[in-house]
Point group: C2
Chain length 226, copies 2
């Protein structure tokens, strides 16, 4: 089975790639340059794709003006030092307009173009940042779009969108990845890393990642600043 794996360079999508590879999938990794301030994540994605045996890795460019208006694309500051309780409340300023919808639209098109039968995405709805486009109901809607809006969906078997981490906690994800031999030192989760790829330790993504490693009782290989 040919599978497109959305790869951000972070912990979750690296785990998804390892899971798909363990199932024997031929994995085509897909990342995006969309004006994110943490573009260093694309270097991590390249390392992860190579390290975990992706057959190909494509970085698609998205017109950054379409999804401006986020702390992650340069508008305002990335929030720091929020507690886990605060992170769970509401949609933060790091929300990027329709980001996962744009990512999936590209993946659906690419899947039809190269004949991939499935798309794997590392969203999860438990230890997450409150983004609406990480919820099961959004996932079901975009699956409908893939079925109804493509030739392959209208005439045969639609591309299947898999989100294997959807109901897993961060610690479980890390444990699963460790069992599959993922080197999380290759990944970067931080929303505001330094240019040499060191994490801030204080943004929502860092807080969730650190807690995950602590709960999983796994040494955190992240290179933090300072």
């Amino acid at each position: 089975m040919r599978t497109i794996v959305l790869l951000s360079g972070g912990l979750d999508s690296a785990t998804v790639l390892a899971m798909c590879r363990a199932e024997g999938r031929e994995c085509h990794a897909l990342s995006f340059r969309y004006g994110q301030r943490h573009e260093v994540e694309l270097q991590a994605a390249t390392r992860v794709a190579a390290g975990l045996g992706a057959t190909s890795h494509r970085v698609a460019v998205i017109d950054a003006a379409c999804l401006a208006g986020s702390a992650l694309t340069g508008q305002g500051e990335v929030p720091k030092g929020r507690s886990e309780a605060e992170i769970g409340r509401g949609i933060p300023s790091t929300y990027v307009p329709a980001r996962n919808t744009l990512f999936l639209a590209h993946a659906i098109a690419l899947a039809e173009t190269i004949g991939a039968g499935e798309i794997a995405i590392g969203i999860n709805a438990l230890d997450y940042s409150g983004y609406p486009d990480c919820r099961p109901e959004w996932l079901a809607a975009i699956q409908d779009v893939a079925r109804l809006g493509t030739r392959v969906g209208a005439t045969g078997e639609p591309v299947k969108i898999r989100a294997p981490l959807l109901t897993m906690g961060k610690a479980d994800i890390i444990r699963r990845g460790m069992a599959l031999g993922v080197d999380y030192g290759l990944t970067i989760s931080c929303y505001d890393p330094s240019e040499d790829g060191r994490a801030c330790a204080a943004c929502d993504a860092c807080v969730l990642r650190r807690r995950g490693f602590a709960e999983a009782c796994v040494a955190d290989p992240t290179r933090y600043r300072g």
Copy 2:
């Protein structure tokens, strides 16, 4: 009301822009460069946006490799000389993988970024080329995605996706546009135009367009080759 109007440079989307302008909308036109062989349509889109009073016009670039594998993006020949009965049968080779899903994903993101309350798209399910992503069921699914996958949809009023031509025939569309003063000489529908923007008169888009003008009893302003 601020409205994003998807503008291809063709007849349908020009009519949609005129309809939205007639309703007093502040229209922001959005076109795409996606590796289409008929890129001359973008010049038409620019003329139409200016001629019909769009407030802004953005041409977003989409990674062409994601939606390759179509006669419109260089793979194979554009079919010519098909009858109207043939055009209505099946999905033609000019289908572009997930094109309208990609277009709408960009429009949904841009709508949230600039605070637009609606998106208007010129799809129609009657006189059309058999593309799955022009059908009402696809439209309903992408509306769900807009509602569920955005901050504005999750917390307030989702962007409304309008397809005012959905159930109109080509002749009716032309009559409506003529009543609104649209100069269809600015538009180009052809899938395989010459570099100076002359239409081939034989592709599916030309066949449907010519029949529309004939049925509407309106002189066809299209510049044909030869």
